[in-house]
Symmetry: C2
Subunit: 191 residues, 2 copies
């Protein structure tokens, strides 16, 4: 099987916000889709090991910030390659608390969605959260960033916990520079 074929699937990049009690967390994901129009529903697929998965499972709600094309790489890295278990990822970031109680990241966001979970589909290492959109707002004009742009133009990499992370078995796999070719699809993140 040529798993490289999977890398041709296209995605955007989003910050997913969630809450558990008084704790907030947010992480990068690429697996957001609109599922239906009436009512407006979306889904996101997340790794079961990550903190945001735990928070969404607990509070049954999440937010989606749709990132602009010019989002800095270190902003993506902050939400994509660090764990909320070890650091407060929202420290110094502009966000607001939405009607679901979950944090909405505003920096670099073209628009955001707030959603309440309807059901979860168990997908093995990952869960697909199906959710109804309860609030949505456009914040600014501009092109959204795609995962392909992040990889090709910005040279971004993919974390090991991503759904489609594939270890590259060549000598040049070390370091940041080459990690961007490891995988094309990520529901990114880590922990």
């Amino acid at each position: 099987m040529d798993t490289g074929a999977l890398h041709k699937i296209s995605y955007g990049l989003y910050v997913i916000g969630a809450r558990k009690g008084q704790k907030f967390n947010a992480q990068i994901a690429n697996t957001v889709i609109q599922v239906s129009s009436v009512p407006p529903r979306i889904s996101v697929c997340l790794n079961k090991d990550i903190l945001t998965h735990d928070f969404i499972y607990d509070s049954q709600a999440f937010t989606v910030s749709i990132l602009a094309q010019d989002t800095p790489l270190d902003f993506i890295g902050r939400f994509g390659f660090k764990s909320g278990r070890e650091t407060d990822k929202l420290k110094g970031i502009n966000y607001k608390i939405g009607q679901t109680g979950a944090p909405i990241v505003l920096d670099n966001a073209l628009a955001y969605l707030e959603a309440e979970v309807i059901s979860e589909a168990d997908a093995g290492t990952h869960t697909i959260f199906l959710a109804e959109v309860v609030e949505a707002e456009t914040l600014m004009d501009g092109e959204q960033i795609t995962y392909a742009y992040y990889q090709q133009v910005k040279g971004g990499r993919t974390p090991k916990s991503a759904p489609s992370y594939i270890e590259k078995r060549r000598e040049d796999t070390k370091g940041w520079q080459n990690m961007n070719v490891l995988s094309a699809a990520m529901s990114m993140i880590p922990r």
Copy 2:
């Protein structure tokens, strides 16, 4: 709620192939994602009313042809705006029968995937099919087409049965030309 925010979600464009008994059908969809890496799993979200949904539900398998950026608009229209109930969409098209028995459309495809359904998540008007990838092949190099490219550059439109079709309530809604602004997300198609 500003449903326009939903239009900022990014997608690719795919031909989904499926079989029911000796009948084949294929349709355009934008809602394919990779769900997990080990094992390789994908999902696709389809309208319950369409014929391909019925075929996948019956045979529990489907194929995904990942379309190239230069895919002609009439090719997309053939699979996106016509129903397999009324026409043989595969007539004159290059395809092959995969190991799942479902047809794999080869024209304009950069790569294809074959998948066997594991479970279905009921999403109201739509179903999310979660499936294990059993075969994958890259056919040619090139950029994949995105839904944004289809809309902005090619001026493509969105069918009414798409998950995020929104009727535009302005006078200039008539005709093909303006249909491309009706919606940004489609699991496209029709019937």
